[in-house]
Symmetry: C2
Subunit: 333 residues, 2 copies
Amino acid sequence: MKIAIDAMGGDYAPEEVVKGAILACRELDASVILVGDENLISAILDKQSISGLKLEICHTTEVIGMDEHPAVAVKKKKDSSLVVANRLVKEGKASAVISAGNTGAAMSASLLTLGRIKGINRPAIASPMPTAAGVSVLLDAGANADCDPENLAQFALMGSIYAEKVFGIRNPRVGLLSIGEEETKGNKLTVAAHQLLKNSGLNFIGNIEGRHVHNGECDVIVCDGFVGNIVLKLSEGLAGVLIGQIKTAFTQNPLALAGAFLAKNAFTSIKRKMDYTEYGGAPLLGLNGISMISHGRSNAKAIKNAIKAAIKAVNEDIVTTIASAQTSPEAAD
Amino acid sequence: MKIAIDAMGGDYAPEEVVKGAILACRELDASVILVGDENLISAILDKQSISGLKLEICHTTEVIGMDEHPAVAVKKKKDSSLVVANRLVKEGKASAVISAGNTGAAMSASLLTLGRIKGINRPAIASPMPTAAGVSVLLDAGANADCDPENLAQFALMGSIYAEKVFGIRNPRVGLLSIGEEETKGNKLTVAAHQLLKNSGLNFIGNIEGRHVHNGECDVIVCDGFVGNIVLKLSEGLAGVLIGQIKTAFTQNPLALAGAFLAKNAFTSIKRKMDYTEYGGAPLLGLNGISMISHGRSNAKAIKNAIKAAIKAVNEDIVTTIASAQTSPEAAD
């Protein structure tokens, strides 16, 4: 199994992407195709000890920038690292594609190149979300700003499969993000989706509220991509603000500063728990192929972990599992 | 000016509500009508030194519980503390009403009793939101799960007036909570609302993303009540989880514990910054009267601060200001 990675995508590309690929080869015995500018990639590889590692380069001449219009760029830049990396999966030369570049373009390239699983109306970004209890899967994290109740029901199914197969959570608890826990509470979308989920055969625990998102009460958090993206970015932002305030407070007096020094390890352990790099990437579920979208600020460790998750998704045959669940008699009802 | 307070509403009512009223009378020279069971209220008052304070009791025989259906309870329990407190404002016997009880019932009672300002289609809960820079106003925080673009434009106007008059923020910066900062990014609702806000004459700074909610980038954060309620509860929940993790981490080893002890004051200062009791209550804007909704867990300090905000809203004549802005030639365009 080979993993194609967009070596040019991300704030710290190609350096950190290439280093992450090397880590994955070393630690996971992965086989990686680095897609991008051969000269730049080779220059980084030359400084590393990579003998014996299963690393290949697939040279491309174009790069899609962070600010380019996703659909336009994907259609125009046919020899971009992102488009070519996706094409390798389509052609069976790679089993999964990973990009930390322009998220919209990554979605667009994967959707256009790999296509949707039959029966799935909208693919969704399934973002791992650190919680007090471990990790949950939040979807959709931003692929679809406007959704209908059927979309949400499909997100729930795909998220359950992913949580079970990739995170190893048995019979994952699915929560519908809403306002108010009663089934009649929420907006029109969630009230209708609640009824579909109740009859879905999934382990649906009902509506959850914003305050439950991070307490680990459920394993799969279902919402539209507008709400999901706000939840994701708000969580990142608030954690940053709180950590900033803690730092400021600790440096305001010598006693506190001494305390902060003594408690350094404690801080490190919290930071690790909240660390997105532990999970590496969010799969775009519902496509005929595995496509992982990584954080723009991904470092080598995040890239390595994205590769790890991609390998697991391939090994567990996520695509076939989702496709079968769609065509099963239950789903057709 | 008298403030009517639902003495029976809230997790710690009537004890903390009555004590909060006493604090407000003492510290702010407020004049408060305690609406609720006279026996219970008197029993609390008897244990306090209240001589010279402008406190009255308005006896009622019914209480609306936290789990009752809002509209049904409000219509049925005409002698409930909540309904009577609102009626006092309608009849001109009080200038504002405050309740920390059933939020849905509080909205319902105020809407039915006080009525909407002409031109305002939907009243909104304007929740104070602690940020890195101070405080912002988030609205709607949960009154309207489904909104149209005009609702959002009206929320922006009401929020601006409140931020300026009550928080003293000159020319408040209004941000539209969306996904992506460009005006074409978001869901159908926010894309349409963006256009209305651009031409509103307000100090509209454009779309903001989830990560900007807590960094103090804008003073008024506009969104529908579904998103607003999730943002509010998510923020509260995540802050709780992080503080819990910090506590756990600090108690895991003696050095960290010593550090935590030394840094105690630093923690207290952060907690104070995130403390909802500092702001006391969220007004339901758009009504013909001032109605403040307080957190269910309000303690005496939160109640006192809600009374303080209500007095300020009355003094600044928020209702007339919103009504005039609605009927001004600009708004009629």
